[in-house]
């Protein structure tokens, strides 16, 4: 088993988000959800990160930033688009300066829809990403270059309604665990 799944460090980038999703991302770190249980740490440095959380859509100004953060992350790495704006542009999709979702600039491995995406859903998205991380790590070990993320992406893409269901489950689990603690 690859250790990368036991300690996914996250770098969080706010594209042109309304900050709704950002607050939910931060909520994941708070004692209520406490993602550090899974070894998740929010690092500010792409060079240390394994998971790239992007909130908000990509526009002309920040597309290079998103691309560069992605490039600066060492393999294996996954990109999680958080919120509907990051998934495909959301309500801003038709704005003059918006390119669309994050996948217009970099390959995205997991889509977490929602407006704003709920912490449970975000955690669920990251945990889904861990499977991809594992696969990428194995691919690295086998000598091949990491599997291009585009091939994986559609499989992970889920409509908002469907994504909500597992997210609810996660929430239940979390509540239970929190209760025990």
């Amino acid at each position: 088993m690859a250790y990368v799944t036991k300690s996914p460090w996250v770098v969080h980038y706010d594209g042109s988000s309304c900050n709704g999703c950002d607050i939910e991302v931060l909520a994941c770190l708070m004692p209520m959800y406490d993602v550090e249980r899974f070894g998740i740490i929010n690092t500010g440095n792409p060079k240390h990160a394994d998971v790239f959380l992007v909130t908000g859509s990509v526009n002309e100004q920040n597309k290079d930033v998103v691309r560069q953060i992605y490039e600066q992350m060492p393999e294996p790495k996954v990109v999680v688009a958080v919120g509907i704006c990051a998934c495909h542009g959301g309500v801003f999709r038709d704005a003059y300066n918006i390119l669309g979702g994050v996948d217009t600039v970099i390959p995205v491995d997991c889509y977490v829809p929602g407006c704003a995406a709920r912490p449970e859903a975000i955690i669920d998205g990251v945990v889904k990403g861990l499977g991809i991380l594992q696969a990428k790590r194995e691919a690295m070990v086998n000598g091949a270059k990491a599997i291009p993320a585009e091939e994986e992406a559609p499989a992970e893409e889920a409509p908002a309604e469907e994504a909500a269901a597992p997210a609810e489950e996660t929430a239940e689990e979390i509540k239970e665990e929190g209760g025990e603690a």
Partner: protein
């Protein structure tokens, strides 16, 4: 001689294990203090293993050399300590290790790494007088700089050297990179200066840095142990207990204070060294 070799090997093997577990406990305790569940105890180990799995990258061709030198000298400092070597030599060897870490950060010419490196330098300047004074205090009390002699004296150095002990605990906060003095890089708030001195260390390099912290923490605790040695078993027991207590005191301090400005870190460390360290040295000179 055989004992020395065994203790060095034990240090090389056990220090990262104990250091790792202590680091894990640190995170667990911090989490509990914040009413969180916290990561598994072995989380630091997973982190390091993960870092070793990552792609190899570096900003320059020279970084590797500096980091290897850092590791060699830092671990070497601990090895000299556990081989019963000279306390001053241990401190100097550690300084050269720290110097290489700083140079490694500088060499990338990255603004964040450089600001981190300069803060690291400031911290070195802040804690070094106190460390040297502690060694001098041991020499004045026990008449020897070598750890060999310091672990088997007749009397416990703790009470006559209480000023130096408190001063040492004070700078231990800087050495452990704990708040309020986690200026150059911080273990918990991962956003200070991006990642301060370690900003440009990727994957495996970063992994080695973490491992070196485990080594460093253990031999710093060794310093505390020396305050309690008096040649008997219960002295060792007290020493070991105080080491653990000191470690968790630092964790407690870490979680109870906000980060201070560099001016405070520097001035307070020097004032502590002057007031507690120098006065204690003066008293030792008068009495012994």
């Amino acid at each position: 001689m055989v004992i020395k070799v065994i203790s060095v090997i034990a240090y090389l093997v056990l220090a990262p294990i104990v250091g790792c577990i202590l680091a894990g406990l640190d995170r667990k305790v911090s989490a509990k203090m914040q009413r969180r569940v916290g990561p598994p105890i072995l989380q630091p180990y997973y982190d390091v293993r993960k870092l070793f799995e990552k792609e190899k990258m570096a900003p320059t061709r020279y970084q590797d050399f500096y980091i290897i030198a850092y590791l060699v000298f830092l671990i070497g400092a601990g090895a000299i300590f556990f081989a019963g070597g000279d306390l001053l030599l241990v401190i100097f060897t550690e300084t050269i290790g720290a110097a290489f870490l700083v140079i490694a950060a500088y060499s990338s010419n990255s603004p964040y790494a450089e600001v981190g490196a300069e803060r690291e330098l400031l911290q070195m300047m802040a804690y070094e007088p106190m460390m040297l004074l502690t060694a001098v205090g041991f020499y004045m009390f026990h008449g020897s700089f070598t750890v060999d002699d310091l672990v088997k004296p007749d009397t416990m150095a703790f009470l006559p050297m209480i000023g130096l002990f408190i001063g040492f605990i004070y700078i231990l906060t800087i050495k452990f990179r704990k708040s309020p003095f986690d200026l150059s890089m911080s273990h918990h708030a991962h956003q200070e200066l991006v990642r301060g001195v370690t900003t440009e260390f990727v994957g495996r390099t970063m992994g080695w840095i973490e491992v070196s912290h485990w080594y460093e923490n253990i031999f710093l605790l060794g310093f505390i142990f020396l305050f309690f040695c008096n040649g008997t078993v219960w002295g060792c027991v007290i020493g070991a207990l105080v080491c653990i207590a000191a470690y968790f005191l630092e964790v407690f301090i870490d979680n109870s204070f906000a980060r201070m400005k560099w001016q405070f870190a520097f001035k307070s460390a020097w004032i502590v060294a002057i007031v507690l360290g120098m006065v204690n040295i003066f008293i030792l000179q008068l009495v012994f």
